[in-house]
């Protein structure tokens, strides 16, 4: 009989054992807020289809203090989500060659962030122009 008795260590609480994993769980958790905001947008579209009265009531609800606090929290989660998303992006892409040299990981990350900032500014400008 073999004297081997390999010991398998349990995985319970694995994500608490390393700061890297804690951060991973936090940034994955921010996806919940992204989904929550998508639902708010979707709800807005549905309410818009229900006519002016419904829309005005919805606007009033959106401007309630609780809702504004929720939006601030979602915004912060969004910012962190974007940062971690672009941070991991270089690891998910095949090498990008420009004039025969590889684009650096940091360039991809900051390029992505810059694109996100510009897109946000454009959306913001459009909204500001449309606002009554």
């Amino acid at each position: 009989m073999s004297a081997r008795r390999p010991y398998v260590r349990p995985m319970t609480g694995w994500w608490r054992k390393n700061p890297f994993f804690i951060e991973y769980m936090v940034h994955e958790g921010t996806a919940f807020f992204v989904a929550a905001y998508a639902l708010i947008l979707l709800a807005s579209v549905v309410v818009l289809g229900q006519g002016e009265a419904a829309w005005n009531r919805w606007l009033e609800f959106l401007m309630s203090p609780l809702c504004i606090i929720a939006h601030v929290v979602i915004l912060l989660a969004f910012l962190y989500h974007s940062w971690t998303w672009f941070n991991i992006m270089p690891r998910t892409l095949p090498p990008i060659l420009i004039n025969g040299t590889r684009v650096k990981a940091a360039t991809i990350t900051y390029g992505g962030l810059a694109a996100a900032v510009i897109a946000s500014l454009i959306v913001f400008a459009i909204v500001a122009r449309l606002a009554p």
Partner: protein
């Protein structure tokens, strides 16, 4: 550099299957100088304090990949980590995470060996080449495509860094995928059709949730997470392209 001897406490996870029900920590007081690695600390313990302590090593220069272990909870090569960086704190050494412990710091790596074999980590030529035809030629640009992935030393640090592998050891894992990618990218190789089923499989690349810690701990800058994630795209492409290409045309 400080050449005087100081004393560091090393706390080592022990497991002797013939007498221990579960692993336990044992402390040793080890004299060290600034140029001593964790591996040398373990060698001191084995030579002077506790001869039964088991661990793997060979090259003691970060090239053979034998001495991977958890050092203060982080997967590292013991020969590539200095005792001075932890001093005056206690340095904790454990067997590489996510693998069964055979004895003390020695892990059971049969699972990885089987995976390594399954991915055919060698050049598979379309038509066998006669010796008289001479060597294969490759341009620097062709070499550059896969060179980074060919630096892998099979140290398994990336597996110890991968919670998905820890939760489900059927997952092919970062190191093996880096090698799949290394051979698939090689201009001399035509074996990717044989390797891709492992990439597509349920236990293939889509087990990865892009934690990314594997690439951070890799001592050879292989970036296995990159290999895994590029192959998610490759796998998806293969899946959709089969609807538009005539049977067998893509291979």
């Amino acid at each position: 550099m400080n050449t005087s001897e100081r004393m560091i406490t090393m706390e080592v996870l022990r497991y002797r299957p013939e007498q221990d029900e579960t692993p336990f920590f044992q402390q040793f007081l080890v004299p060290f100088t600034d140029d001593m690695s964790v591996l040398q600390g373990l060698q001191y313990i084995k030579d002077e304090l506790e001869g039964s302590l088991s661990f793997r090593w060979s090259c003691r220069m970060a090239i053979c990949g034998s001495c991977g272990m958890m050092i203060n909870g982080v997967p590292k090569l013991a020969c590539h980590t200095f005792l001075r960086d932890t001093y005056p704190n206690t340095l904790r050494v454990e067997a590489l995470a996510h693998f069964p412990i055979e004895r003390d710091l020695v892990i059971v790596m049969d699972d990885f060996m089987a995976k390594l074999e399954s991915i055919r980590p060698y050049i598979i030529a379309d038509t066998p080449r006669a010796l008289s035809e001479g060597e294969y030629l490759q341009t620097p640009a062709q070499l550059d495509l896969y060179e980074q992935f060919s630096s892998c030393i099979n140290c398994l640090l990336c597996y110890a860094a991968c919670p998905q592998y820890g939760l489900n050891s059927k997952f092919i894992g970062p190191g093996a995928m880096a090698l799949v990618h290394r051979y698939n990218l090689d201009s001399r190789d035509s074996g990717s059709a044989q390797r891709m089923p492992l990439v597509h499989a349920e236990e293939g690349v889509f087990n990865c949730t892009a934690v990314g810690y594997c690439s951070q701990v890799c001592p050879k800058k292989v970036d296995p997470a990159n290999a895994v994630n590029i192959n998610k795209t490759e796998s998806a492409k293969d899946y959709f392209l089969r609807f538009v290409t005539p049977k067998g045309a893509g291979k």
